[in-house]
Symmetry: C2
């Protein structure tokens, strides 16, 4: 054995070092302890990611095998590993402490940590997972932007626009007014919950339509067009309500500023994007090193997300605009392909985290104080379904059209609804019962839409049987 | 205008909410403020990533256009945006405060933050970027594992093994002994610096060999084989010295434990991997949702990284072992392709951070206290070159072989050398002059190798001209 003393006791070691070199003022002992913590933060993040991936895949595959959208299973997987059940993935902002986290218990067993460092490691690890989840939703919206097609929007035209506007206005007005008048919910959370009712999941709707062979029908075209417009409207609504939540004011001037700035930001970036497109392609074609397409694309997406944040909109609006702009370049197909694996490893962190943060315990009817939350959930689900189904009757000049199918096609809230719930929860605007009610609403509308859509299109019985 | 009071003043709002619902003990005001900070952490991370990507691409492309390895330019790009120059990307562990960070100044301008929240946002943002950098190096080593081929190792056989062992032992012994005896550096940092001298960059070496058309020559085969073995040896050396740094002891039993556990871990996971391979392929083939290959692969890689960390080895050893195991499956090619874009967006965060953290100011010869650091850097560079060039003479039974070319081919330290510098710096073992000296050594050996290798293979003049 050469020198035996541990580093933290070896003051001679430290002083010999400080005498021979210019040395930073910071203590090397503190640094050594910090570095032990930094390594444990990484260990905690790695274990959290393993939990997230297993939950997302088990949930997603189970959901798929039941012929439901995989994203639903990822959410339920998050609920199972989160604060409602296994306590593997819990977050300080929902009031959990390090001692509630099973992952922190495992780390303590592995690393022999002091109680003080456990709390700081828990907070740092949760912060990292939260930011990874936010990067996940930014990349999801970037990908949705890449998949949306501006020209397609113009083709389906007014019919789709009317359906989208009615599908945003009706549930928002009915939801917000109902919550305020019937349930005495304060204005800001009521508006936020109303906004969460406006979304339509373009992913789920178009996937189900293509599975039942109605994607190219007139109804299918209108549904998809409306869902695309709804995505844009929903993001503007989200930007407006999230900023309301931040400033805490319902200031009409502020609302007008936000609507104008969100619209100008989105339309402006699309307009300027026409010129930027050529520079982007020219830059990408000059580059010769690895990541020559994906790095400029993500630089642009993150820069747009940063700019949106900087003018008090949501980061996802910037990422969505970046996706719309880059969708117009010739590099689109190559980029689509390269974004897929990146989205695959980051997006599930978002969905699983949303599920993990949702405390479904507040909807347990055995606890008397929960009952009001449950009644609210029932109300939200009714508004969510009725508010979208009526959109079918907004279609004009098409007497032969299957109005029920169009309305039903707009029901699933999917990703965008969860984005509302997640951001509402993170901003502290939604209390737990209301947040849980929104999540239950998203889950149920997403669950119900695929079978209802099949019924509305009057599928032959044997094909329904194949599915069930 | 509807109600005008901001949320933070509206106590009536809070109490109306708490009276109608069961409410968490945590204050909603604190949550609202935290959430403003959380949003600013995301803003800071987004801006940092934009800086990282621009620095990595400008540096990488410039380096490539000078016919040097792109990774070198990413590192230099990091130096430019980091603590040595622009102060865009600085980290608290190198003694920087929020006021030294240009990104934090921008955030303050954008967000109007209080001094208290600036410090906590700066620390949280730096923590997130550091963990992203660590995930980057984990994915880099996973990818190197995927690219390494166990069967190829067996083919080039003993010649390559001898070259590798001499190329690890000679610079390590000469470097460590020289630092301790000539420069009176304490044992642990001397061993760490010696260990950083052992690496050979498989990426740079094989790329240069293929560029000059000598990849398939006998010399080329031996160099690549030795570089692969050197990668494995280097990772074991890193695991040993990093653990020494953690425990602060040079305990022979501990060294033996680490060598055995690293070897058993690596060989054991390869051995068990033969059985796991089939289950992995079977699982992947059953999955039907998005990310069906990449999610199980990353679950495995992160789990192995966690396990390596849990038994006090380095996370990268686990990721490398996971890569070696999955390289043996039929899914290899598909996986290789999907890992590329993920590595492209995460690995540069590592290289740019290493450069950003390196304070080259300590090597300014105008400051008298810096001179010892500069002399150490000169010493390290000499040992780094001589210690690898002599490996050519370790080749036996091949009288015709170009010994100089083999030795020169082993010179570039590249990624693995930077991994040592980064981990040494993060663990607090290396003081700044020694860390900067190691980085200068890595940069210079990597810079020198491509032109020296061309000279050693006596390339025709016109081809050299084409390049220069």
């Amino acid at each position: 054995m050469i020198p035996l003393e541990p580093m933290v006791n070896s003051m001679a070691w430290v002083s010999s070092l400080t005498s021979s070199f210019q040395f930073p003022s910071q203590s090397i002992l503190a640094t050594a302890i910090d570095s032990e913590n930094a390594s444990m933060v990484l260990t905690g993040v790695l274990l959290s990611l393993v939990v997230v991936y297993i939950a997302s895949k088990l949930g997603g595959e189970l959901s798929k095998s039941l012929d439901l959208p995989p994203v639903l299973g990822e959410l339920v997987g998050g609920v199972v590993v989160g604060v409602s059940a296994l306590h593997l993935l819990v977050f300080p902002e929902s009031g959990a402490e390090a001692s509630n986290s099973l992952i922190m218990t495992i780390l303590q067993f592995v690393g022999g940590l002091s109680p003080d460092s456990v709390t700081s490691i828990f907070e740092a690890q949760s912060e990292v997972i939260s930011v990874l989840a936010e990067l996940g939703v930014i990349i999801l919206l970037f990908e949705i932007g890449l998949e949306s097609d501006l020209r397609e929007l113009k083709k389906v035209g007014y019919q789709a626009a009317v359906v989208a506007v009615v599908g945003v206005a009706a549930p928002f007005a009915a939801g917000t007014a109902g919550l305020m008048l019937i349930f005495n919910v304060p204005a800001i959370p009521a508006i936020f919950a109303g906004a969460a009712l406006t979304a339509t999941s373009i992913g789920i709707t178009s996937k189900v339509l293509s599975e039942i062979g109605h994607l190219k029908s007139k109804e299918g075209q209108i549904i998809v067009g409306a869902a695309v417009i709804d995505d844009v409207l929903g993001i503007i609504v989200l930007a407006v309500v999230a900023s309301l939540a931040k400033t805490g004011e319902i200031n009409v001037l502020n609302v007008i500023y936000l609507i104008i700035s969100a619209t100008v930001f989105l339309l402006g970036s699309i307009f300027l994007g026409n010129f930027f497109n050529k520079s982007f392609v020219a830059i990408v074609e000059k580059l010769q090193t690895r990541g020559k397409l994906v790095i400029p694309a993500f630089t642009f997406a993150f820069l747009m997300a940063f700019l949106a944040n900087a003018i008090h909109l949501e980061a996802i609006l910037g990422a969505f605009a970046a996706g719309l702009v880059l969708d117009e370049t010739d590099k689109r197909k190559e980029l689509d392909k390269q974004v897929v694996p990146i989205a695959d490893i980051l997006v599930p962190i978002f969905f699983v985290s949303v599920g993990a943060k949702a405390d479904l315990g507040v909807l347990n009817p055995a606890i008397p104080t929960n009952r009001e939350g449950l009644i609210i959930a029932t109300f939200l689900i009714l508004v969510a379904i009725v508010g979208k189904v009526i959109t079918g009757w907004a279609v004009f000049g098409q007497p032969e059209i299957n109005r029920v199918a169009i309305g039903v096609g707009m029901i699933p809230r999917g990703e965008v609804g969860l984005v509302f719930a997640g951001i509402g929860s993170a901003s502290g605007v939604l209390d737990k019962p209301l947040e849980a009610a929104i999540i239950i609403m998203v889950i149920l509308t997403t669950f119900l839409a695929p079978p209802l859509l099949r019924l509305a299109f009057k599928k032959p019985v044997e094909q329904v049987d194949l599915v069930g």
